[in-house]
């Protein structure tokens, strides 16, 4: 059992050595795809989350919509989109973005909703405008919680970006589809192991970032 695993991993390593250009290209594609999706999710969901935290209407409609969306698996999203956007990287990015959105939205909403009322009242009482409050007080205090959402999204998206290979958009998923097609686990690992490592690395980096942005607590 262990012998075969080590043997397979060795095969994976050889496969990697022989195709380094392709491999690093796939890593880059993978990161770009995931990065774009997470970036878009942040761009869309942070403002939306601020809105839902402050408006009952927005919160009722949007949060329900998002909770509905979460039920649909990303693979299904991808196949739902293909008829409209074709077998393109646009389809992959749209699917991944939809996947990345809920955690960012939910955490942004929660972050702003749970700001300490006394702090907000002090900010108002001192004569900060709504915008000044947002920039100088609310946002800095919300960032750690928002980042938690980003971490959850990032982990999801980096793993799911392997699906992009189904629509021909590259990324580390190419080794997984290829491995399946050829019934060759060693090729599959060339995709799966780096995905796991990247996920861990990104998670660690974001955790570090979160820690440095946390207000000092003792």
């Amino acid at each position: 059992m262990v012998d075969t695993l080590i043997h397979t991993l060795w095969q994976s390593y050889l496969y990697f050595l022989n195709r380094q250009t392709e491999f690093w290209g796939a890593v880059v594609d993978h990161l770009i795809l995931a990065g774009i999706a997470i970036g878009l999710a942040i761009l869309v969901c942070v403002p939306l989350g601020i809105w839902t935290s402050k408006s009952r209407f927005a919160s009722l409609t949007l949060m329900n919509l998002v909770n509905g969306l979460r039920v649909i698996p990303s693979l299904a999203v991808l196949f739902l989109i293909i008829p409209y956007l074709g077998l393109t990287s646009t389809s992959a990015i749209v699917a991944l973005t939809i996947l990345a959105m809920p955690p960012v939205l939910i955490n942004t909403d929660a972050a702003f909703r749970t700001l300490e009322p006394a702090i907000i009242e002090a900010a108002r009482g001192m004569g900060m405008s709504a915008f000044q409050r947002l920039i100088k007080v609310e946002f800095p205090l919300a960032i750690p919680v928002i980042l938690t959402g980003v971490r959850i999204s990032a982990v999801d998206v980096i793993a799911s970006a392997t699906l992009a290979a189904f629509v021909g958009s590259g990324g580390l998923g190419i080794y997984i589809t290829r491995g399946f097609a050829l019934y060759d686990y060693s090729i599959l690992f060339v995709g799966a192991i780096p995905v796991a490592l990247i996920t861990l690395a990104v998670e660690g980096l974001l955790a570090l970032l979160q820690k440095t942005l946390q207000p000092i607590k003792t």
């Binding site: 006394a118 702090i119 009242e121 002090a122 009482g125 001192m126 004569g127 205090l141 207000p215």
Partner: protein, 318 residues
Amino acid sequence: MAAIQFVNVSKQYPGTTAPAVDNITLEIPEGSIVVLLGPSGCGKTTLLKMVNRLHEPTSGKILLDGVDIQSIPVNQLRRNIGYVIQQVGLFPHLSIAKNIAVVPDLLGWDRQRINQRVNELLDLVHLPLDFRNRYPAQLSGGQQQRVGLARALAADPEVMLMDEPFGAIDAITRESLQDQLLELQRRLKKTILFVTHDVEEALKLADEIIVLDKGRLVQKDTPCNLLANPAGDFVRQLLNTDDRIRQLSLVRVETVMKPLDSTIHSNRLPRVPLGTDLKRVLSLMLSPASDTVLVCQEGNPIGYITFEELRKVGCLSA
């Protein structure tokens, strides 16, 4: 001119059946500490927050130095009013220096002026200068509220609103903060509207006390008058005046009097012999109003008592 005037001010929150503040007309004299006193829910906070427009009155108006506050842009109004709340509400992500500098920052002061002002204020509230770079979470509750006070004083506002600022602080620290506020007030002469439900605190700090009950003004008087002439059972019970007066009657003048000095012009002041109790002194202070009473030995003045001495007597904090 009164610094703050309430003219027929009422406030009813949506969805409630009774007004939280009911037709209050009131003048807060410049340079004095006026305490809003009353049981929880009587409308103290609501009345206070209408001054910096965190709440808007349902009817009536509020004037600041004779100007209707509705005619002042709201954030400009707030930047010119110091605001201190029980929960302090310091910004946890900003250093103490930056917390204190918030309003000067909003007012666009230059960096050097702000820096200097922050040092001045830390000094004023008796905090060491190396607190500048600390963060709120690294301070004790009492220290945090000192910073809260410094922050409210930062742009040197004429009016301060303080909503139970020492309510969440342990008794010993609270007393030292109260003493410090009085010391500050002697130097700064702000107009302070101070909310508390703590009778001792009100008696200790107030130039005037305003007693509220269910949103209505019940009595507005000096601490001295309030003790001696409570306007009805509500005030009598709230202040526990009977007990306090009884306790004053147990203390004799020689235990609290101050030796005579050149600042006292003794001609027309009421006089009492040694051995008189403080209840008698209190009544002399009221009729005709005189804040000083002389203590005599065999007809010769040897000391004096002011209401300050009565305040300091343990019996006011029964």
